[in-house]
């Protein structure tokens, strides 16, 4: 066999030149190396950290935008799940506001016994005005009541036939705002009923209370619904991220072989969850704005009919901040769950 020395001598000039060039390249390689080391020191650890985070975040976003349609669909599902309970909640909150305005006019009618004279009724009115539960009390004598009824009912002529005024005197009591809580109203009604002069106590706002209870129930329902939909968002994001992990299995294996930690591999997926959540939340805000714009006209017409200046309040700055925060938190949580469950399972074999 030919010894190695002889072989080397047999190298062509081109081969020798190639070898020389390679040696030169290596020197540059080492030079670059030491150069990069000195450059590193000029960066603070914190700024390096943020640069890396920004880089990974941007890379994750670009990755999502590479498949715009599926990203859009996922974000849209999240948006609907966020917008539905939020919109409902906002509408109910507005309704509650209207109802409590009506409740401000809440009044109780005290019908006097027939035997009570106007004099006595007026005295009672004065006395009631001093009660702290009552903001105002006014007396309507039997005659005044008949007058008012004649004017308003249109039965004027028919009533003239009556020989005797069938109506009792009334004291109209306006409640203090603090009394509008259920327990207080019952207590006050009982107190009024015990007055010897009073025949019947009639609450004129029972239906408002009922409506109010329904709205409160609706709000509770909207909250429960939003809880369920939040779980749905977690599942959607978790599943999307799980599929992404599955699709990028090979990439994860290779990066693990090169020496990537689980934290490193986890990062882009967490960022993907973050972006999904944020995009979903932004779309949700737009969706709510669109829905409210669509119903604002009919609502305006309705409120004009009720002589009201009511307007939908919408999300507002705080509301938008809330939705964005909730979207981001759900996105991060959903992807965190998926990543934690699936990344450990992918190990090079």
């Amino acid at each position: 066999m030919v010894p190695r020395k002889n072989r080397r001598q047999r190298q062509t000039p081109q081969q020798r030149q190639q070898q020389r060039r390679r040696q030169q390249d290596l020197t540059t390689f080492i030079d670059y190396e030491s150069d990069a080391r000195t450059r590193q020191k000029t960066h603070s650890a914190l700024s390096r950290y943020f640069e890396q985070q920004a880089w990974v975040g941007k890379a994750a976003l670009l990755q999502l935008l590479q498949t715009p349609l599926s990203t859009l669909m996922t974000a849209a599902v999240i948006a609907i799940a966020l917008a539905l309970p939020t919109g409902l909640f906002l509408l109910l909150t507005d309704l509650q506001k209207i109802v409590s305005n009506w409740q401000g006019n809440a009044q109780v009618s005290l019908f006097m016994k027939k035997s009570i004279s106007d004099q006595e009724a007026r005295l009672l009115t004065k006395k009631l005005q001093t009660w702290e539960e009552i903001s105002n009390a006014s007396h309507l004598s039997a005659a005044q009541a008949l007058d008012e009824f004649q004017q308003q009912s249109g039965f004027g002529d028919a009533l003239d036939i009556l020989q005797e005024n069938p109506l009792p005197a009334v004291i109209i009591v306006k409640l203090h705002r603090s009394q509008l809580i259920t327990g207080n109203i019952e207590r006050l009604t009982e107190k009024l009923r015990e007055l010897p002069q009073v025949d019947i106590v009639q609450l004129d706002f029972k239906w408002i209370q009922r409506l109010n209870s329904f709205v409160a129930l609706g709000k509770r329902g909207a909250l429960l619904l939003s809880g369920l939909l939040a779980v749905a968002v977690l599942l959607i994001i978790g599943n999307t991220i799980r599929l992404t992990i599955h699709n990028r299995r090979q990439e994860i294996l290779v990066t693990k072989l090169i020496g990537a930690t689980n934290q490193f591999i986890r990062k882009p997926f967490l960022y993907a969850g973050f972006w999904y959540g944020l995009m979903g939340a932004v779309f949700a805000v737009l969706l709510i704005a669109l829905l409210f714009w669509l119903i604002s006209d009919p609502i305006h017409r309705l409120s004009v009919l009720y002589n009201s200046t009511f307007q939908l309040s919408g999300l507002g700055f705080v509301g938008v901040a809330y939705i964005l925060a909730i979207g981001v938190v759900l996105g991060l949580t959903g992807s965190w769950i998926a990543v934690t469950r699936h990344i450990h399972a992918i190990e090079p074999k």
Partner: protein, 228 residues
């Protein structure tokens, strides 16, 4: 650099892929690992890269006993090793540049600082002009060179290659071997698993031969020529 002491590897199911292998590769050495398929070459590399754990015996890498390395520390061991694969394992949705930059990013070097080192590595394997291309647009030989650039960009003390020339024609194979030699010249320890005996018999390096899980020869590649 790598010390294997009486290592055995038995896979679940009873197959013993390696039995009682002992060898020592000095820092700065370049060596080949050969044997038939199934002789245990891949298993040996997997033990060094902690893809698998030894059943008995110990692997010492750069003074560190690998059987004591905990799961979460594995990535840091792997960063000391540049790995070249037969099917090069490049990420096809990333450019050549991004592929080569990956080990730097993984070890926490800010992306803005990777540029020069990546270009230096690409320059070394002669692919500087192709940094913006995607691996799929390159020839097999070029893809393998990108794989090598990725393996060396972090300047690891050890370079491991598993059948790096398995898919290449002889001329390209020689070129790739030339690259490994060049990196060995600047101090990198190199271990190459291959069954391309024709190629390595032209070189003069240490040679480990495995047969059915046992180390049957620890000599030089020239022994191949003498045997022939």
């Amino acid at each position: 650099m790598i010390k294997l002491v009486n290592i055995s590897k038995r896979y679940p199911g009873g197959h013993e892929a390696l039995s009682n292998v002992t060898c020592h590769l000095q820092a700065g050495e370049m060596a080949f690992l050969t044997g038939h398929s199934g002789a245990g070459k891949s298993t040996l590399l997997k033990l060094i890269t902690l893809i698998e754990r030894t059943t008995r015996g110990e692997v010492v890498l750069d003074g560190e006993n690998l059987s004591r390395v905990r799961r979460r520390e594995i990535p840091f061991v792997r960063r000391k090793i540049g790995m070249v694969f037969q099917d090069h394992n490049l990420l096809n949705d990333k450019t050549v540049f991004d592929n080569v930059a990956l080990p730097l990013i993984i070890s926490g070097i800010p992306p803005s600082e990777t540029g020069r080192r990546v270009r230096a590595a690409l320059d070394k394997v002669g692919l500087l002009r192709k940094e913006k291309q995607f691996p799929i647009t390159l020839s097999t030989g070029e893809q393998q060179r990108v794989g090598i650039a990725r393996a060396v960009v972090n300047r690891p003390p050890l370079l491991l290659a598993d059948e790096p020339t398995g898919n290449l024609d002889p001329a390209l194979s020689r070129e790739i071997m030339g690259l490994f030699e060049a990196f060995n010249h600047i101090g990198t320890t190199v271990l190459i698993a291959t069954h391309d005996l024709g190629l390595i018999s032209q070189l003069q390096y240490r040679l480990f031969t495995l047969h059915e899980g046992r180390l049957i020869a620890d000599g030089t590649t020239q022994d191949l020529n003498n045997a022939a």
